[in-house]
């Protein structure tokens, strides 16, 4: 049994190595061996690492990334905590809006949100031309403006993580504290707040890593408005001629140093405490009923926030999709952009089809690998745990463009052709890369869920004679149903719009949705880019709703049956872990 467990741990690490570490190593190794050509091997090239503090562009990119990520993390965490608090604590009509906005923002890629913000804020954009808000442009394209836009794009994962932690109340522990003389505040400070530390740390890490490695926002806004960041500078190093893979390797090292430092801070903040508090002494937090005026005020806040975070970027895309000009100032209503998108020769239709199939396959494989990784990280005692955890975090932070180039080096080997594994130039490589990109998100969502399911539940099932698969099927999966559905949907949504990977790796004559949108935008076909975004989004949201329905169909049936029985018997069922 131990042998099997160890084997499983090694297999998981091997999968992660193939998907993430090997391509990354192929890029990092370029520092001493440019082009991976043996004749160019030179250890003195390590001196390039010092150039980050010498070359103006690198220094600037490093500092810009650091300040942007730190600013976004601090403000994003505050915003996420505030929104999660009002969502969990108070009962008001607009509460669901916060969840909806967060989920949509989590799925919509940053480059599309960034395009929306450009349509809104540029000198000839919606704010200036239609709303007369002349100062918006100079604000948005400043440091604080970029932080604001980043915060509005990146807070959702933190919001979901914090909200999930706040939904459960350690009633028994609080009671114990109160019985021992603690005041209400002391009990909150010494029991409830410390139990939330993992959620806050995890939320901060999610924002930090998502920001520091973000390529979509960098390429669309920050690089254009003289605010170079590391991901975009890495892209410039790779997609420059002559290509400087060694420079990309150096900059990737610094990106990883920042992440390792952030992980170290998180590790120190969490210490060695235990945080699995979900048991039969846990209660779901009941939302407070507030006065109608207060409820209305909270609903207005939620609505206004939804307009700000989602309405501006998506609404701007919608408006631009009906514009016949790149300048809103010269806006004239037209359906031409949609006609072009649906035209017979348009590559969008095949692009959507390709992207959807890739995303479905990636989500399927991603959830399997992600589940295994999360299980090992939560319940296994393996020595490989830290290496596995670190790999998933690295996968999240490494810009897609670096991963993409690494994939070319790894999967374009001649000898792979002899064993039928020459995947470069085939859609399969996009699936592999998409799975690698999706694993961190799936993993974070599932680890968050599993962290609240004590191992004792699984041990109890084992004592009762349940085998490994039976424990997974009858204990873990039902408890993690919501997390699994969320992770699958997030992986699906994320894979559909994976711009960096598809830009680098797409096979000949194989159009994809994100490349179509990005190319149209870069060719200044703003209207077509926006129309493609809207059309693509409608398709994807439709499929996601369908997926959610299919994945939840059993639960819906069970709930219907339970409520029917409850009505008949006059009983109320309560299972605290059901909604994890």
């Amino acid at each position: 049994m131990k042998f099997k467990k160890n084997t499983a741990d090694h297999v998981i690490l091997l999968i992660l190595m193939i998907l993430v570490l090997l391509p990354l190593a192929a890029v990092l190794f370029q520092i001493v061996c440019p082009g991976l050509q043996a004749k160019k091997f030179n250890l003195k090239n390590m001196l390039l690492l010092g150039d980050v503090f010498v070359r103006p562009l690198w220094k600037r990119a490093f500092l810009d990334s650091l300040f942007l990520s730190v600013g976004t993390t601090v403000l994003g965490l505050i915003l996420a905590a505030f929104l999660a608090h009002i969502r969990v604590s108070y009962d008001f009509a607009g509460a669901k809006l916060l969840d909806i906005a967060s989920w949509i923002l989590m799925i919509v890629p940053s480059f599309i949100l960034a395009q929306g913000w450009v349509y809104f804020s540029s000198g000839n954009g919606i704010a200036s031309s239609w709303l007369g808000m002349k100062g918006i442009s100079s604000f948005v394209f400043s440091y604080w403006g970029l932080v604001t836009v980043m915060v509005l794009c990146k807070y959702p994962m933190a919001y979901v993580a914090i909200k999930a932690a706040m939904e459960w109340y350690p009633a028994r522990l609080i009671s114990a504290a109160r019985m021992n003389g603690a005041s209400s505040f002391q009990a909150w400070k010494s029991v409830q707040l410390p139990l939330c530390i993992p959620a806050y740390c995890s939320a901060a890490m999610l924002i930090f890593m998502d920001t520091v490695g973000d390529y979509g926002m960098s390429s669309t806004i920050t690089a254009v408005y003289s605010f170079p960041t590391l991901p975009y500078t890495i892209y410039s190093a790779i997609c420059s001629s002559p290509a400087r893979f060694d420079m990309a390797g150096v900059l990737s090292v610094y990106l990883m140093i920042m992440i390792v430092l952030a992980m170290f801070i998180q590790f120190k903040a969490m210490g060695k405490g235990r945080y699995d508090f979900l048991d039969n002494g846990t209660e779901k937090v009941m939302q407070k009923k507030v006065k109608p005026v207060q409820a209305a005020f909270l609903s207005i806040v939620a609505g206004a926030f939804m307009v700000l975070s989602l309405g501006i970027p998506i609404g701007s895309n919608l408006i631009m999709s009906f514009s016949d000009s790149i300048s809103i100032r010269r806006f004239q209503f037209t359906f031409e952009n949609y006609k072009s998108v649906f035209a017979a020769g348009s590559s969008l239709k095949s692009g959507i089809l390709h992207s959807l199939s890739l995303a479905l396959i990636s989500a399927f494989f991603g959830i399997i690998v992600g589940f295994c990784v999360a299980y090992v990280l939560t319940y296994s005692k393996t020595r490989l745990k830290k290496a596995i955890d670190m790999t998933t975090l690295i996968a999240m932070a490494v810009p897609g463009v670096v991963l993409g180039i690494g994939y070319i080096f790894v999967w374009n080997q001649k000898w792979l052709g002899y064993v039928g594994l020459h995947l470069y130039g085939k859609p399969a490589i996009l699936v592999l890369a998409s799975v690698a990109s999706a694993i961190p998100l799936i993993n974070r969502v599932l680890v968050g869920g599993m962290a609240k399911v004590p191992e004792s539940l699984l041990i109890a099932a084992e004592i009762q004679g349940a085998g490994f698969w039976e424990r997974i099927r009858t204990v873990l999966l039902p408890l993690l149903h919501n997390s699994t559905v969320s992770a699958t949907l997030a992986a699906f949504g994320g894979s559909v719009f994976n711009l960096a990977i598809t830009t680098i790796l797409y096979p000949p004559n194989y159009s994809t949705l994100p490349v179509f949108i990005s190319d149209s935008y870069n060719d200044l076909k703003f209207g077509i880019a926006a129309a493609a975004t809207i059309v693509g989004a409608v398709f994807i949201i439709g499929i996601m709703l369908l997926l959610e329905l299919l994945l939840n169909i059993k639960v819906i049936r069970e709930k219907a049956e339970k409520s029917g029985k409850a009505v008949k018997q006059g009983l109320r069922t309560s299972h605290p872990a059901e909604n994890i």
């Binding site: 050509q37 400087r244 020595r383 000949p508």
Partner: protein, 384 residues
Amino acid sequence: MKKNVLKRVLPVMMMTSAALGMTACGSQSQTAAAPAAASADATTAAATETTTAAIAEAATTAATSAAAETKAPVQTKPLVVYLNDFDAVIPDLFKKATGYDVEVVVGNGAETMSRIEAEKSNPQWDVVWIDSMYDVYNLSKDDCLVTGWEPANAANLTDFSKALIPDNKCMAPTDIHAAGVIVYRNDVYTEADAPKTYAELADEKYKDQVGMADPGVAAPAYPLAAYFMDDLGLDAGKEYFSKMFDLGLKVYPKNPQVVAALASGEISIAILQESNAYDMVSSGEPISIIWPEAGAPGSTRVAAISKSTQQEDIAKIFVNFLLDPETQQQLVNTGDEGYFEPSVNGVTLKAERAANAKLAVADEEFGAENEADIKAWFADMSAQ
């Protein structure tokens, strides 16, 4: 123990990485049949598919007579062409003219060259066709291109284009477009106030108003920078741009972003690639275009064949097809990408294009040798 795990994992990864792609273009085994230099002379006429023929025989046939009698190579898989423009039309045009299939991989100039660089150990492309002449020339120095071959249609090249064929004949110019004409917002400047030469752009009165694309990212922007560095001399060229940077020159990743900045009023003057400039005018933006009398720096689109291709004959047919006046006329007529000066005689230019349009390019050797340094210098200057 954790350290031990890493110790075991890292060397394996490093060694595996090192083992990857140890070979580059030059060490490729030449799997394609080595046709005689004149093989693709058969090209324009080669519309009929028959079995593979001896190249010399094909050349003789093509030179003398009808297509029906010409023996053309048989295609077993589509020709893979890496390009940055005309992706929507060229496969159909080529298929219609020759019956051969083409698959395109489109990206901007830098993305395409990066992909080629990353694939060096196992190239997946047959032909590259982009407006990055110096990059392509550098590929020939790495022994990645078929050299010493000139398409039959090269005989019809204009004098300007003939001069662009390097001694090793590694590439064929298919068109030249202005990498940077001077454009200005005519609602900000009158004709009298507007700059008329590139030198005037470094004048104090245009402080914070001028923008251009990044030579490190946009394919046409490097020929632009290289031209000034070559024409003025490296030091004087850097001095010219330094002065412009001091006066607030804004560098955007690509030309479309320069257009966006002009349209939004963020800048009022730009050195802009010509098709982007004409697009702005045709879409009604308040923009005027100046073609400097001394000539505008040109960006040359060239076609070159991978030394590792297994379809060299068809690749040569493709390159020759690009030099056909009829093909170039169809490309001119495609629309927004059709603003360029054809490389062959007998093509009618777009009516809107200025009659006095004059182009100038930097020397190939100079442009290729100094490419990395000039781009790095630009990147650092624009970050300061």
